[in-house]
Symmetry: C2
DNA sequence: GGAAATAGGATAAAAGAGGTCTTAAATACT
DNA sequence: AGTATTTAAGACCTCTTTTATCCTATTTCC
């Protein structure tokens, strides 16, 4: 089934949250979980793994929490998804050269290649800097609307 | 995880097989399963559901089997996948207008919309007539190569 | 009636989603 | 220095859904 897992969805929300904070800000799980509407126990686990993968820095104890290590401009949506779900491939024949023995004569293979490329292009070319910027714009628009009403 | 299910993969192989047969030909599951390398009991069930969805006609008893009802030119890959897996949507917020309450201010929503569109475009614009034609070409090329060697 | 096919139900294994509880580290307050 | 508090790390658990498959019943023709 072609669906983003909750784990990756939450990871994106979490990193987006951090991207929208002032640089170097330390946030803790409970705060982020509440703001982004993510179960905190789950988010904690996700952040653990994002820390291991080098996206975040964690500090324990009072005043501790998580900080973004990489600049948002250098994190793509694609990277975060792959960190959570492993490599993305839409069909077996795209995982490696000879994963499917039918590939030599199967006309569907090319279709998947094309579909995968056009899908990946979109998420590879989207950084969290862009998302954060778009997020601020969208929020302002949203607030001015409810303010006017 | 963004992966095509085996069910849909096998359905595509099955319909492709029928698309490459002379029109109106009745094929039975065992034959197709062998040719397309699909477990026959599984394929049988898949064909059942494709029959219910109106892609195939089935006849039971001796001399029975399955026939394509729709002309290959009018079947898209997308349709077959949706018949097997239900509607395709990459993320919750794409299933319906207000599936995700965060949509009003979430900047990621637009990204998914874009990704989904460019992915779907590819599979919507691919009919089994094209695939069958490409399959014939590919097979000939393949045979001439092994013949020359 | 018997062989050839499909119809449909049952099932086993894997992935996904989330929770709990204990341990470790850092700070803050005596 | 010592203790309490705050926060993450890590290990373990459970429940549900999806995926992939098999097995038996039923229909139809000869
Ligand atoms: S699309 Fe063709 S090559 Fe790809 S996995 Fe399916 S059969 Fe193999
Ligand atoms: S991407 Fe944004 S709108 Fe879509 S499901 Fe996630 S939070 Fe909701």
């Amino acid at each position: 089934m072609f669906r983003l897992s909750k784990g990756a969805e939450y990871a994106i929300r979490g990193i987006l949250h951090l991207s929208m904070q002032p640089e170097g800000k330390v946030s803790f799980v409970e705060e982020i979980g509440e703001a982004q509407d993510v179960p905190k126990a789950y988010l904690a686990k996700i952040f653990q793994s994002l820390t291991k993968k080098g996206f975040l820095k964690s500090t324990r104890g009072q005043g501790g929490g998580f900080t973004l290590i990489k600049p948002p401009a250098e994190i793509t949506v694609n990277e975060v998804i792959e960190a959570m779900e492993g490599p993305i491939y839409l069909n077996d024949c795209l995982v490696s050269k000879d994963a499917c023995e039918r590939e030599t004569f199967c006309p569907v293979h090319e279709l998947w290649q094309k579909a995968q490329t056009s899908f990946m292009d979109v998420i590879i070319n989207c950084t969290f800097e862009e998302l954060a910027k778009a997020g601020k714009v969208k929020r302002e628009k949203c607030e001015s609307k409810s303010g006017a009403a």
